[in-house]
Symmetry: C2
Subunit: 222 residues, 2 copies
């Protein structure tokens, strides 16, 4: 019945953390609907999740439910916010003001609770000085070290072409950024003290391709 969460000593997989994000969205929706209590079974049925998996994932971080009653929705939501570190502001810097970078600079979610976009950089003199839709002005990538330090950047997002991605990653690491999200289709050599996550948008297309190949079963799987 302890509602404090603890940081587990063992490794937690990225898939577990991604599922916490999914649970958080489900709980937010339930809270919007004024649901105050839900069991892992109900949560699983409502959102097509796995109830044993939910219990196992949450058990990493403590005991959140009450046996026979279930989870308190607002409390569990708040715990997930804390576990994911979304109760603090994470300052995000974007490198690469092309179409993808510009899109992300005003992507809903990159500038909401927990995250704040503080800069968008590029090396192209034609782009530097231009305003992007989110309200930021493109700054010179040569200023990266100063901007990271002054604006206390936590997360760097790489949206440059594949050929420049490693150089940008190394610059972000040298400047002291602790976490990097890479959208460039390049395998980057990481750094032991910096968390690097590669976003591969093709994986979502491959998922759809699988379902197309087994179309008769789509209805039961969505």
């Amino acid at each position: 019945m302890a509602f404090k969460y603890y940081i587990p000593a063992e490794s937690i997989s990225e898939l577990t953390i991604n599922r916490l994000s999914v649970y958080l969205r489900c709980l937010q929706q339930l809270e919007n609907e004024n649901t105050t209590t839900i069991s892992s079974q109900e949560l699983a049925e409502r959102f097509h999740l796995n109830s044993a998996q939910i219990r196992k994932d949450l058990a990493y971080f403590g005991e959140f439910g009450t046996r026979g009653v279930g989870y308190n929705v607002p409390k569990l939501r708040e715990h997930l916010v804390n576990i994911l570190g979304l109760n603090e502001e994470r300052r995000v810097l974007l490198v690469g003001a092309g179409n993808l970078g510009t899109a992300l600079s005003h992507y809903s979610g990159f500038n909401t609770r927990g995250f704040r976009m503080v800069a968008i950089l590029d090396a192209d003199p034609h782009k530097i000085g231009k305003r992007v839709p989110g309200g930021l002005t493109v700054e010179d990538v040569a200023e990266l070290p100063r901007i990271v330090k002054e604006r206390k950047v936590h997360i760097g997002v790489i949206t440059v072409p594949a050929t420049s991605a490693q150089k940008v990653f190394d610059q972000l690491v040298a400047a002291g950024v602790q976490a990097v999200l890479n959208f460039a289709p390049a395998q980057l050599k990481g750094h032991p003290e910096v968390k690097l996550k590669h976003v591969d948008l093709k994986i979502s297309l491959e998922l759809l391709s699988f379902f197309l190949g087994h179309a008769s079963r789509i209805a039961s799987m969505s």
Copy 2:
């Protein structure tokens, strides 16, 4: 020892399919390095995966390994290509020629083996007729039903603002598209015969936020 794969009767989760995509990338890399055989343990260690999970995921689709020897890398890669349906061409249509749509129209991976981008549509008269970097010309969204039919589109990708996303989804369904990837930050009402996948880019940022909160453990988790 049968190398044919079969389509399982029970439901397979999206997470399993996403892991198949990850295994495919690992095997492609191993094949590039001329590795011909690998055990699930070696595969797990090399790419920071879980060997029991690998065996369980693959077991859904048949028996691919040889006990005491491991997996034949090129054969397993080819099986995964077939399971994911990437041996056939999936034709992709994009709706929304803003920054994100334009970025995706020439995103590496959306136009490689297995996928072909056949159209990008928009409602804005200023965008219609303009060429995007991938080589396509923006067409009028009013032509969606004709284009889907003539170009035999399998997958629709939605990159319009949230307020228009449901309307576009319904148009894609009415036109006969079987699978939809939605980038708009909107909860769409689905259709029982159409596979709908929502891409939430914020989940990757939340993953990094988690690791920032537990930075001392980053090195052991990458």
